[in-house]
């Protein structure tokens, strides 16, 4: 039997027996083959003793059972690690931040408590996946869309409290921002409802976010202050039509004006779909099309183009630009999408063109003009998540193909947030490409473009491979940490990270002698004095484990 650190076999056996009483014997897992299901499938410690693993798992089916589990853990000082469905691969999966925790697996709590079509919201438990919610809506022919990440197999609640993002309209892409109301089991087993849910028999729990007084929902995301057992989400009313268009720009210097114009159009809500910046001249596809590159192979290029590209610095040379102008290959291509009544989105596209036409040489093209809902049998022709349809197709990216002869065993997402300017894109490429080269990291080898999930900031999302070779993985982990530190020195921070990097990332958030961390741990001491809940998650450690900070 595996044991949590510092817990005797006798004490652990007593706790397990109480867990069994609380949730049923068949829902407490202690055998290696059962507990191994909770290993991180993309662990950066593949084949290494340092891999973070659970001691056991317990799967409650209700909020009341979660409360009992938490109270038992307090009595026996058993560290817990709550997961929804544990699908955040590349950010830690279902494995605990602190080895030896008992995983509290919430996927049996998979009830969709309400989907309100008239006011476009849902209330769900943490075991509800995007596929589940999508299916529920389709089965009832409700006229609302979900916003899902890609892949869409994870938990709606889990992704939101890990602050994941999606691909539809800006109001819904930030999954934590689009939530409204939580139910949380606190570390002492008490039940809390946030926002309007604090009113008994609340009538607007999923309609008004903040209630009255301090709005505390944020402290239950990327943290260890409670176990979220219900969460409300605003849904997108099913749009009438969809328009996807591109703006092509011919010169390197156009990147700045492209971003400035995009920012204005987004912030003014003239465009709200997922914007996607590509560089045909640099051979860099839009994010929404990247799986096609892996399925069908990279775009064909002339030898001259390849040679010029290999000689370009930060994606630029005057010769490359001249080649692009001569061959009619755009330096930059912005993919814009619009949702709404056709007459409205056509007008929005007209307005967008008017703004981009101020950039010399801008060219415009409509890629798709669709009436919605889209035929479900045809949605696979598109990037499904942009239509609120969960998919697993993105895994073709990892497949072994002639152009990807040595697929990795997983990856660690390197995902710093940078300002939304063209200058920041170039500066981040300069800093990270130099650092990655010096560190031998397989990132930023070519000019790299960020993604536009969030309004008002860019995010790079780059996969650092996990390999079969522990020495290579160790070198990549160390390099990854250095890149985080280098980013921090330039004022850029990660938005989310796997447990192995959480200390390094939170070290970057160091304003005023790490007052943010000290505040987090002051809260931790106050509401979880026994330190039983997810110790170490996002580098928030209970007092008795602070010396073990890793």
């Amino acid at each position: 039997m595996r044991l949590p650190p510092g817990v005797t076999p006798e004490e652990f056996s007593r706790a397990l027996a109480e867990f069994e009483q609380a949730v049923g014997k068949q829902w407490v897992f202690t055998s290696d083959e059962d507990v191994d299901l909770y290993r991180d499938a993309y662990s950066p410690f593949l084949h290494e003793a340092e891999e973070r693993v659970a001691s056991a798992a317990v799967a409650p089916s209700s909020t009341e059972e979660v409360q009992q589990v938490v109270r038992i853990a307090n009595r026996h000082r058993i560290p817990l690690y709550a997961i929804s469905t544990g699908k955040n691969l590349g950010y830690g999966g279902s494995a605990p931040a602190y080895s030896g925790c008992v995983v509290v697996d919430l996927k049996r709590m998979n009830r969709i408590l309400e989907v309100n079509e008239a006011n476009a919201f849902a209330l769900v438990e943490p075991g509800v996946s995007y596929f589940d919610l999508y299916h529920h809506i389709q089965e009832r022919n409700l006229k609302v869309w979900i916003d899902c990440p890609d892949p869409g197999w994870g938990s709606v609640v889990g992704n939101a409290i890990d602050r994941g993002g999606g691909y539809t309209s800006a109001n819904y892409r930030n999954h934590f921002d689009s939530h409204c109301g939580m139910e949380v089991v606190l570390p002492n087993g008490e039940l809390l409802r946030t926002g309007m849910g604090a009113i008994p028999n609340a009538k607007t729990w999923q309609q008004y976010k903040s209630g009255c007084g301090p709005w505390i929902d944020g402290i239950f995301s990327q943290s260890n202050f409670g176990i979220v057992t219900k969460m409300g989400f605003w849904l997108m009313p099913q749009p009438e039509a969809y328009l996807r268009c591109t703006v092509s720009l011919p010169r390197y210097r156009d990147l700045g004006p492209l971003v400035e114009t995009l920012n204005y159009l987004e912030n003014a809500r003239i465009t709200s779909g997922f914007p996607d910046i590509a560089s045909p001249l640099n051979g860099y596809p839009p994010l929404g099309q990247i799986q096609l590159l892996f399925e069908n192979g990279p775009p064909t290029m002339t030898e001259e183009h390849q040679k010029l590209l290999s000689e370009a610095v930060l994606g630029y040379s005057s010769e490359l630009e001249a080649y692009g102008l001569r061959a009619g290959i755009a330096y930059w291509e912005l993919w814009l999408s619009f949702y709404g009544p056709m007459e409205v989105i056509e007008a929005q596209w007209q307005a967008a063109q008017r703004h981009f036409a101020k950039i010399d040489g801008a060219k415009f093209r409509i890629i798709d003009r669709l009436s919605l809902p889209i035929d479900p049998t045809k949605v696979e022709q598109y990037h499904e998540p942009e239509f609120g349809v969960p998919s697993l197709r993105v895994f073709s990216i990892g497949a072994r193909t002639p152009w990807n002869p040595t697929p990795s065993k997983g990856h660690m997402w390197f995902s710093p947030i940078i300002p939304r300017t063209g200058e920041a894109i170039i500066e981040a490429n300069r800093v990270f490409s130099e650092a990655a080269r010096d560190l031998g990291m397989p990132l930023f080898r070519t000019f790299t473009l960020p993604a536009c999930f969030w309004e008002r900031s860019f995010i790079f999302i780059l996969a650092t491979p996990v390999t079969e070779d522990p020495a290579t993985n160790k070198r990549y982990r160390e390099g990854f940490k250095k890149l985080i530190e280098i980013g921090g020195r330039h004022g850029w921070g990660e938005y989310r990270t796997a447990p192995v990097f959480q200390k390094t990332v939170m070290d970057v958030y160091s304003f005023n002698d790490h007052v943010l961390r000290r505040f987090h741990e002051t809260l931790k001491d106050a509401i979880d004095p026994n330190g039983i809940l997810s110790p170490g998650r996002y580098d928030i450690w209970p007092k008795h484990l602070r010396g073990t900070r890793t």
Partner: protein
Amino acid sequence: MDRRTFCLGSAAVAVCGCADGAFAAAYPGAEYSGAAIALDLVLFDSRYAECRSFAAVAKHSGHATVAFQGDVTRLWYDTLRPRWAAGGGMIAGMTSPSSLFCLEQLAKDHWRRVVMRIEHRRSLGGDLVSWVIGS
């Protein structure tokens, strides 16, 4: 039958046969259908000739087969998800490793796991894997 077809047929017999025989002994609680264990489905990636041969052998042995092409989304959504939610039994298949990876992760949601895995190295076009997912 050439050597290649024979080997792939052997893989199907190994996977489905083990599910039918030796695997059944290891999992005495599983449901039996006569002398053979009930395999709910045999999945195969119809893009690959090897997988089609594998499925042909499985079908000849009386197993229901389902074809897909790389992406497991529809297979998951239309076929496996409702079956596993309702209980369902073991499945076997021959696919790319990335398709199996997806199925393995999805299986975890139903407390199922890959209980047998045979890797087939190929010099061109990516490796394949035959497997059984049980509980």
